[in-house]
């Protein structure tokens, strides 16, 4: 662990990209695409969403210009980092078929080495949630582990919470709660600059290659002020939700949520920790080769729980219950933490604006009415 830190001027930001490229790292970070801030490969600082911010609401997302030229002045980008660690589609293997059998000719492709630029606290915690799923529990997925081992993480300090944010109630932010290589704080004063702080030896080595000036108390105070501001959040998950949902599995309110839910799966796709996948098998037209791919899947589909004779979770209520109880309750049984990091994406990207915190609050209210605290 290193305490190396320093100030990088906005005008020197390309030096950061150069230093990452020199290490053979492809830089992934926020950029504007199709009317949203998404995570994608970045050629250089010009690809960052300068002067843009996002306005999120249940079922709504809009970009708005801001006049300070901020590069990281937004909240959660569309999707999380999961697609770079657990790709939406990845080949598991390729087989050559013969008249009476097959041989495996290729496994999964080799993992890329990527730098994740601008990982927010909630998303940093989300990566540790995925680590628990894919690494050593008790099995390890070589596809995830290979990408994870190669990932260089540059976290970013959240300067403000969006209206969908509730990381403060999920023990996942707004301060950085998990290991990173470098933490970046964007300071928008008369001199637009970045406080860079190393969190690993590799991070410190990177900082040594940059044209930094010494950081002052004024810079670290700016960082702390941003974190304090970002902790001011309007949403929160009610305490006791994990245990409560676990004993309300047969409650009628699931049907009320299901009456609104379209079972579209947007929440699962946008969630930074939803990890479910299916496999797709294909063969070439001449039958000479067969391939198997792993593809993201959603517990909202009927196929997801299909076994001969039908789907286990036929009703929309049972599928919403599966998603929400897994995220907020049974994840604790499986991995010892919540599966939710409070990023709020599932609220924003739900086409009918179902709010997981509001539903959890409804269960809490129903439960309180059913089990009044004894005097």
């Amino acid at each position: 662990m290193s305490t190396a830190s320093g100030i990088l001027s906005r005008n020197d930001l390309s030096a950061l990209f150069d230093a990452l490229a020199a290490r053979g790292l492809e830089v992934i970070g926020p950029t504007v695409s199709e009317g949203a801030i998404v995570l994608a490969p970045l050629d250089g600082p010009d690809a960052l969403p300068a002067g843009w911010t996002d306005v999120q609401a249940p079922g709504a997302y809009r970009l708005h210009p801001r006049d300070d030229g901020a590069l990281f002045g937004h909240t959660t980008p569309v999707g999380g980092w999961k697609r770079f660690l657990h790709p939406p589609t990845v080949r598991l293997f390729q087989a050559a078929t013969t008249a009476d059998g097959f041989t495996i000719t290729e496994g999964a492709p080799p993992p890329p080495r990527q730098a994740f630029l601008g990982v927010r606290a909630c998303d940093l915690t989300a990566i540790t949630r995925l680590d628990a799923v894919f690494q050593g529990n008790p099995f390890t997925d070589p596809i995830y582990a290979g990408r994870r081992a190669g990932a260089f993480i540059i976290a970013v300090t959240c300067a403000q919470a969006g209206p969908m944010c509730f990381c403060a109630s999920m023990d996942s932010g707004p301060d950085l709660r998990a290991p990173y290589d470098v933490a970046l704080t964007e300071i928008l004063e008369s001199d637009h600059r970045f406080l860079l702080e190393a969190g690993s030896a590799e991070g410190a080595a990177l900082l040594a290659d940059l044209p930094l000036t010494p950081a002052t108390d004024r810079d670290t105070a700016a960082r702390d002020r941003q974190i304090t501001q970002a902790a001011d959040q309007t949403r929160a998950l009610p305490p006791g939700t994990a245990e409560r949902l676990g004993r309300m599995l047969d409650h009628a309110h699931w049907n009320a949520v299901a009456a609104r839910c379209l079972s579209c799966g947007n929440c699962t796709m946008s969630c930074p920790t939803c990890f479910c996948a299916t496999v797709e098998d294909s063969s070439s037209l001449d039958g000479a080769t067969a391939e198997r791919h792993r593809v993201w899947d959603s517990c909202f589909s009927l196929d997801f729980s299909y076994i001969h004779g039908g789907s286990v979770r036929e009703s929309g209520a049972s599928r919403y219950r599966q998603w929400m109880t897994h995220k907020l309750s049974s994840w604790h049984d499986q991995f010892g933490t919540s599966g939710c990091v409070g990023c709020g994406r599932c609220i924003t990207w739900c086409p009918v604006g179902i709010d997981i915190t509001e539903e959890a609050a409804t269960f809490a209210a129903v439960d309180a009415a059913r089990h009044p605290v004894e005097a």
Binding site: T98, T140, G146, F275, T278, S283, A290, S330
Partner: protein, 276 residues
Amino acid sequence: MTADLMLPRAFRITKVRRELADTFTLVLAPDDDGPVPPFQPGQFNMLYVPGVGEVPISISGDPAQPETLIHTTRAVGAVTKAMWSLKAGQSIGVRGPFGSSWPVEAALGDDVVIVAGGIGLAPLRPLIHAVMARRAEFGKVLILYGARTPDDILFDKQVRDWRGRFDLSVHVTVDRATGTWSGNVGVVTKLIKRGGFDPHHTTAYVCGPEVMMRYAADALVAKGVASTNIWLSMERNMKCAIGFCGHCQWGGRFVCKDGPVFNHAAVADLLPLTDF
């Protein structure tokens, strides 16, 4: 680099047995002539038909002879129907074995009650082999088997052999009597109610359709068997068998790695939930 557990290994089909109108057994040996990993009774393999898909299938052979890898399954989906058409000499992919197993040791000194419904006899057969291999270490051993009709009795020759033994009680019931059937008619729970075992010193192993397992376990508990002495095997959609794909989740459990064999006491609250 971590071993890639998602890569199937090619096995050659050495024998195909048509068991019932829709049920068949494949006997497999590795293409590469390497060793076959040992398995515990109740564990399963992922069987892969190139270009078609992969399904979890319990091992139905004798755990003392793991080199003869045996699977018995019904042709009910795309993959198992493709398997049905395979012949001896062709290859399929195998990954495994995976999952928890029937705890044979848990029954030492106890009466053993094995309750099977339909194809549920297949995952229990390795357990029956394991129990009979050390028969003297258990009390009474009962096999209670329910099938739809007399024509649906799986491993019928073996069931007849078991019935002929003096150290094993085998009771078969059918939902619907056809032909010359003169045996029991009705659900398998009726056979449990009849008793013939010491409920306070009994370990029970149950496998069949989920609703059958639920009522069989209830009947065993009603008889006085402790819930903690009852074991059952769950079935869910599985794509990976190692806890990554998420399909087999059952509450906080992954059926693939925490199961498929569960202690009844640990899951009794989940069994009555519909669509769960």
